[in-house]
Structure formats: structure tokens, C-alpha cells
């Protein structure tokens, strides 16, 4: 599903990864952790095809990101749900229109999918704010909005970069619960976080693996944390 083999990446000589390999099976639940500046965002961007590895290659759904055209990258992104660390929306559109945006750009904006939008808004607890603009939302609400937009196309993989970055513990729990629900529906979940209690909580409910970035490498963290 997601195949990373012998990948190295650096920003203008500043090495972030060297010779990293990982194979993500469908339906699995991963946490990615590491200190600030260790390369979590970089890793997510590599998986999303926004960055191309200098050495080695990354296969998403069996396709190498390096060889994808812009068109193929867009097609791939429709099967990926991406939640960025700093969520961005179209500020001139309402919450509802933002959630439906992936449908709109895919030309699938008909009544059947519209029903999904309403359901999703309820699911992330934003149904009372459907006509509000994104800049009027709190940090936690923005992250829920980003999650709703990421899953509207029912993607096979969800890549979330610090989805609980600026929310309190209670909201973190709610977001995690949403992720676990998605995983139980069969989605592959990949979450970067430095919140270890979140990982502990998750492990009490699902089988989740934890990866740690250190010294340019990716290592499997033990059960202890």
C-alpha cells in the first residue's frame, strides 16, 4: 500500500533521512514520533508525493511517486486523506463547502455525496457551523474540519501531520476516537505526533505501531514508550 525503500532526503545539504525503509500494510495504524525538527512533516510530505526522495523510492498504491505526472499525483491524492500540520482552507467558502471541496474538484458534487457531507459534519461535531467561514473556527475545530475534508472521498490511507497539535487533551481524545473509527472501517492510518499519552491511549484500543525518527533513521519504538 505504502512502500518506502532506501529513501534519503536532505534540504540543500541538510540531511533529514538517510536510507530509510518501511512497508505499510493496508488497514494498519501507525504513529510517527520524534523531536521537533526531526523530519515528521518531511516524511508525510514524501509519502504524499509533495516531495520526491533524492535517493531510493516511494511507492503509493504500487506507483512510484517519482514517475508520476501532475495528473497522476492528483489522482493519487484523491485516494489519500491528508491532514497538514497547519491546516489550510479556502477562506471565502463555508465549512460545508470546504468539506465538499474534494468532491467539487472531482466533479462528484451530486446529491448522494452531499448527504455524506452533512453526515461528516455531524461526525466531527461541526454541523451547527455549516455556514461559518474557516477563519472563524478555533484551532481544534479547524483540525476537525481538515479531518472531515480529508475523509470525504473515503480515502484508503489517511496521513495526518500532528492532527492534535494545538488542541487540548479532551479534543485530542475526540480526534483520536475519530481516527480509530476510521481504522475500524479498514482505513490505513498514519499519524505524526509528539504526544506520547495520545499513543498510549490509542494502543489501549487498537493495534498501533510506533515509529521514531532519530539520527536520520526510522526505528520501531518498543512497547514501553
Amino acid at each position: 500500500m505504502l512502500e518506502i525503500s532506501k529513501v534519503s532526503y536532505s534540504y540543500g545539504g541538510n540531511s533529514v533521512f538517510s536510507d530509510v525503509s518501511l512497508s505499510v500494510a493496508p488497514g494498519s495504524f501507525y504513529f510517527l514520533t520524534g523531536p521537533s525538527g526531526s523530519g515528521k512533516t518531511t516524511f508525510i510530505n514524501l509519502c504524499a508525493g509533495a516531495l520526491i526522495p533524492e535517493v531510493g523510492n516511494i511507492r503509493v498504491f504500487g506507483e512510484e511517486t517519482r514517475n508520476m505526472s501532475n495528473y497522476e499525483l492528483s489522482q493519487m491524492r484523491r485516494r489519500l486523506g491528508i491532514v497538514h500540520q497547519n491546516c489550510e482552507f479556502l477562506d471565502h467558502l463555508s465549512i460545508e463547502e470546504n468539506i465538499a471541496l474534494p468532491l467539487t474538484v472531482a466533479g462528484m458534487d451530486n446529491t448522494k455525496e452531499r448527504a455524506n457531507v452533512l453526515e461528516l459534519m455531524k461526525w466531527v461535531g461541526l454541523d451547527s457551523k455549516s455556514n461559518v467561514k474557516p477563519q472563524e473556527l478555533s484551532g481544534g475545530e479547524r483540525q476537525r474540519l481538515a479531518l472531515a475534508r480529508a475523509v470525504i472521498m473515503s480515502p484508503e490511507i489517511i496521513l495526518a501531520d500532528e492532527p492534535t497539535g494545538n488542541v487540548d487533551w479532551e479534543m485530542s481524545q475526540r480526534l483520536l476516537t475519530l481516527m480509530i473509527e476510521l481504522n475500524k472501517m479498514g482505513k490505513t492510518i498514519f499519524i505524526s505526533t509528539h504526544d506520547l499519552s495520545l499513543i498510549r491511549l490509542a494502543k489501549a484500543n487498537v493495534t498501533a505501531r510506533t515509529l521514531r525518527i532519530s539520527d536520520l533513521k526510522l526505528s520501531q519504538a518498543g512497547a514501553d514508550l
Binding site: S74, D91, L101, T104
Partner: protein
């Protein structure tokens, strides 16, 4: 070709109920106003250039088909020489009609200088034969040679020393007008490009978000092109309309001046003026496409 077809199809058919490109207040008016002002100037420039072309044709035509022979001789010989000249002209190919200019006509010609009651018959005047050409045209060199052999007192004047400078001048003005219009179109292209780039850098986040949610580049390009081109089109239509009104009011002034009298734009010329908004739409599509594609490339 099929690419263009698909492009137009997507331009007409893409979902319109959700505007993925925001209206960024100031640039909207700037774009619309610029397109309007440029269209106005383009239409006026084009109209003057076409009028000059028309004027040059008209002057050229009226002088082209006419020429004259002047005979200077003592009064007693004049009549005989005139009939010889008319006989020669009768045998010359391309001469439609040859007419001796009578005393009344001469009076009329000289009236502005001499006054209407000047006793013209009292002075010795050269005879003047006016020649109207047919479409075939007259071989003036041949005619001149023959006249110099048979009638040395005759002077042939085919107005070429008049006609040429006028024609050259009018053609020059007309070409200058066209050149100005071409420059204007190019600078409009540059201006629309700049406006599009400004709007894009204000909306770089929109590009990022659209990419993130899986929009194809073609969709993004179309969305921006639509937004922009509709503004340019509205501005251009307004500018062209205003210029049209100005042009409709023009002949009233020129009649009083007696200069552009009866020189009017014909239907073909008016159709040319009507294409100005179309040209601006094409410019806008082209410029916006380039700008969006460049921004998307930079985003990678």
C-alpha cells in the same frame, strides 16, 4: 486541436455553483478597469487608422482616374491645336472621355482667387482638356511621347506629383495607427499577465489547497481563467461600448469642420471594431493560462 476543444468544453461546462477562486476586491476592479480603458483606446485607435486608410483610398481614387492636357498657344492657333489633341486622345487606349474645359468652368475654378466678376475672356488663357480614364488605364509615357512629337505646345499632367505625397502620407498615418493598435494589444497582454500574477500571488494558498484536495491542474487553470476572463470581458465590452458611442457622435463634429465629411466606417470596419472584446478575451485566456501554469510549477 482536440486539446483546444477540451479546453473550451471545460471552460463552458465546469461546475459554476461553487467559486473556488475568491474575489479579491481590489484586483477585480483593477482588471476590469484596465481591460475597459485598453479596449476603449484600441477601438478609437483602430477606428482612426481605418478612417485614414479610407481617406487615402478616396483621395487616391479621385485623383487617379483624372488627368489633363494644357495647351498654350496664340488664340488663333488654339482651336486647331485643341482639335488635334482631342483627336490624339480619341485614338489613345484607356481614355474614357476628353472634354475641353469651357470658359464658365474656368471662371468657376479661378473664382476663389480672382472673384466671380473677373473678365476672364479678356486675357489669353491656355486651353485645358480634362481626361477621365477607364479602368484599363492610360499609358501616360506613350501619350506624352506622342504629344511632344505632334503637339509640342501641349503639357500632360496626370497629377502624380500631387497624388503620391497624399497617398504616402495617408498610408503612413494608417500604418502608424495599426502599429499603435498592435503595441496596445501587446501591452494589454503584459498588463493582464501582471494582473493575473498579482492575483495569483495573493491566492497562492488557493492553489495549495486545490492541489491538496486532488484538483487536476486543468481544473485549477480553468477556474482561474474563467474568473479572470469574465472580468476582462466585462471591462472590454464596456470600453468598446463607450468608444462606440464616441464614434457615433463624431461625424456631427466633422461635418461642421468639413474635413472628414462623408468619410465613414463601413460595415466591415465596424465588424473589425466589434472584435476588440474578442481579442481581449483571447489575450486574457492566454495570459492567465501562462500565469497559473507558472505558479503551479513553482508550487511543486
Amino acid at each position: 486541436m482536440s486539446f483546444m476543444l477540451n479546453f473550451w468544453k471545460s471552460l463552458l461546462a465546469s461546475p459554476d455553483h461553487i467559486q473556488v477562486v475568491p474575489n479579491t476586491g481590489f484586483t477585480v476592479w483593477l482588471t476590469t478597469f484596465t481591460a475597459g480603458a485598453m479596449s476603449f483606446v484600441a477601438v478609437i485607435g483602430l477606428a482612426f487608422s481605418l478612417l485614414c486608410a479610407e481617406l487615402s483610398n478616396r483621395w487616391g481614387d479621385s485623383l487617379k482616374s483624372a488627368s489633363s492636357i494644357r495647351l498654350s498657344a496664340p488664340t488663333d492657333l488654339l482651336e486647331k491645336q485643341t482639335s488635334i489633341a482631342l483627336a490624339i486622345l480619341d485614338q489613345t487606349k484607356g481614355v474614357g472621355s476628353a472634354r475641353l474645359v469651357g470658359l464658365q468652368d474656368k471662371k468657376k475654378l479661378l473664382e476663389p482667387w480672382l472673384g466671380f466678376d473677373f473678365p476672364l475672356e479678356a486675357i489669353e488663357m491656355p486651353a485645358l482638356i480634362e481626361i477621365q480614364e477607364t479602368d484599363v488605364g492610360v499609358d501616360y509615357e506613350g501619350l506624352r511621347l506622342r504629344l511632344s512629337a505632334e503637339l509640342p505646345s501641349a503639357t500632360l499632367d496626370n497629377h502624380s506629383q500631387w497624388r503620391q505625397p497624399i497617398e504616402v502620407f495617408a498610408a503612413l498615418i494608417s500604418q502608424l495607427g495599426m502599429f499603435t493598435v498592435a503595441l496596445l494589444v501587446l501591452s494589454s497582454l503584459a498588463m493582464v499577465s501582471m494582473a493575473a500574477n498579482a492575483a495569483l500571488s495573493a491566492n497562492i494558498k488557493v492553489l495549495r489547497v486545490l492541489r491538496l484536495v486532488g484538483a487536476f491542474d486543468a481544473f485549477i487553470v480553468t477556474a482561474f481563467v474563467r474568473k479572470f476572463t469574465s472580468r476582462v470581458f466585462v471591462g472590454s465590452i464596456l470600453g468598446t461600448f463607450c468608444a462606440g458611442i464616441v464614434l457615433v457622435l463624431m461625424p456631427d463634429f466633422s461635418e461642421n469642420l468639413g474635413i472628414l465629411d462623408e468619410v465613414n466606417l463601413d460595415l466591415i470596419d465596424k465588424i473589425w471594431l466589434g472584435t476588440v472584446p474578442l481579442i481581449f478575451v483571447i489575450i486574457s485566456i492566454f495570459a492567465t493560462r501562462m500565469a497559473v501554469k507558472t505558479s503551479l510549477k513553482r508550487l511543486m
